[in-house]
């Protein structure tokens, strides 16, 4: 059974239908990259997986449990499904350490020394051990995004969702974030990414999903999808981002 099963999901905002019957499977350990033009429904789909949006119809199942905003144990579910946003969303009034340890301290009831060790561990994994006592405002965009990833890792998630995490970064800072994500992929983390980084998608993903007009237009392994797109829409998209 796939870790994530999405079946015929529809989602509207007012009169605008953003997702028009999306179905998708994500296997454990798989890296799935969702690409597509702005407004194609990529981010909405990601937010539905984490129950930040409620679907109008269809089902999303993660680890065998049906996802919805009203699901039982929603908070425990969200601890297992980490999401990293384009705008980092670090808490500006908390140091890097406290950004990372806030949720483990409150939800997992670990001790302060254990929390500090946890922060050191996850910061080490994103290459920012020396920033443990810094304030978010003192970090570059790339560093802030790596802290946001570390904050998710501290919850030991089974699945990570990345919503255009490099889009707000200066070009020279994109690489450091992508490297962290590549390391996570190598370590077997199941990941679903929305990205415009085609090079990263090609090199790291097991599966590319091209979304267009609220539907999964094409999907497949990157080498096949990029080398031989089956639809004019994907061909045009690939040409436009080259």
């Amino acid at each position: 059974m796939a870790l994530v099963e999405i079946r015929d999901v529809r989602k509207s905002f007012g009169q605008v239908e953003v997702l028009k019957g999306v179905s998708l499977d994500v296997a454990e350990g798989e890296i799935v990259t969702i690409i597509g033009r702005s407004g194609s429904g990529k981010s909405t789909l990601l937010r539905c997986i984490n129950a930040l949006e409620t679907v109008n119809s269809g089902t999303i199942t993660v680890e065998g449990r049906r996802v919805s905003a009203g699901m039982a144990n929603l908070r425990q579910f969200r601890q297992r499904v980490g999401i990293v946003f384009q705008a980092f969303n670090l808490f500006p009034h908390l140091s890097v350490e406290k950004n990372i340890t806030l949720a483990p301290l409150l939800t997992k009831k670990i001790g302060k020394s254990q929390a500090r060790a946890l922060a050191q561990d996850v910061l080490g994994r994103v290459g920012l051990s020396d920033k443990i006592d810094a304030w978010p405002e003192q970090l570059s965009g790339g560093q802030q995004q790596r802290v946001a990833i570390a904050r998710c890792l501290a919850m030991a998630p089974h699945l990570m969702l990345f919503d255009e995490v490099t889009s707000a970064l200066d070009p020279e800072l994109v690489g450091e974030v992508l490297k962290v994500m590549e390391d996570m992929a190598r370590q077997g983390m199941t990941m679903v990414l929305v990205t415009h980084e085609m090079g990263f998608a090609r090199n790291v993903a097991n599966k590319i999903v091209f979304m267009h007009q609220g539907k999964v237009w094409e999907e497949g392994p990157p080498e096949k999808l990029f080398a031989a797109p089956q639809t004019p829409e994907l061909r045009s998209f690939i040409n436009s981002v080259k």
């Binding site: 930040l52 500006p92 939800t107």
Partner: protein, 219 residues
């Protein structure tokens, strides 16, 4: 000018100052609790609760504070609740400060981007944990200057309590003036005491702000 006559009344001045401070601090603390609770309920309470809070805010902010004090001191006894002057003034000033505090806290809470709340929710925090640990600290920082200004207005507004003989500083001044007929000297002195209290509180609030809100912000 003759300030020497006032020296005999130093006990009244000290007592009036202490009562002013007590009224201010009681009303500020109670009003702050009202502000936090009211603002939280305005965000998450049911429609009738929100309507009740909005009505309270509008009534308090759009009627004279002096009349509010009179209502509590002179009218409540008709309904069987008789409060001494100090207590009546403390209740009225708490309700006054609370109404402004709700609006100040509400503005602070609304200054926090929804994405911060979402980030807290995504970490599996409860609504209360998100409010307490994610929203409230930066919200309070954003409205701290407004709070300190409102506190100053509250301190100066305690002089209205003299109209029900609550024994605070202005009342003490009126008493001394009636005995000495030294209007200028009396009011110059109590003015100086009010000024000194406000400046001292401003210094204290500045120090508290520096110690409490230590994180850097983008200017």
């Amino acid at each position: 000018m003759n300030f020497q006559q006032l020296w005999r009344y130093q006990d009244q001045l000290v007592e009036g100052t202490l009562i002013t401070l007590a009224l201010t601090l009681i009303a500020a603390c109670a009003g702050l609790v009202i502000g936090l609770l009211g603002a939280a309920l305005l965000r998450s309470g049911s429609r009738p609760v929100r309507l009740a809070i909005r009505s309270y805010i509008e009534i308090i902010r759009n009627t004279p504070s002096l009349i509010q004090i009179f209502l509590i001191f002179f009218v409540l006894p008709s309904f069987g609740l008789k409060l001494p002057a100090f207590e009546a003034a403390a209740v009225a000033l708490s309700l006054y400060f609370g109404a402004y505090a709700i609006e100040i806290v509400r503005a602070g809470l609304e200054s926090i981007p929804p994405s911060q709340i979402e980030a807290g929710q995504c970490l599996g925090l409860t609504r209360w944990q998100v409010f307490r640990h994610v929203v409230l600290p930066p919200a309070l920082r954003n409205v701290y200057p407004a709070f300190t200004s409102q506190f100053t207005l509250l301190l100066l507004g305690t002089s209205l309590a003299s109209q029900v003989a609550a024994g605070e500083l202005f009342h003490a001044g009126s008493f001394i003036e009636s005995r000495t007929y030294r209007s200028f000297e009396v009011y110059a002195v109590i003015c100086a005491i009010y000024f000194a209290m406000v400046m001292a509180f401003k210094a204290v609030f500045a120090a508290i702000g520096l110690l409490t809100f230590r994180w850097p912000v983008r200017r």
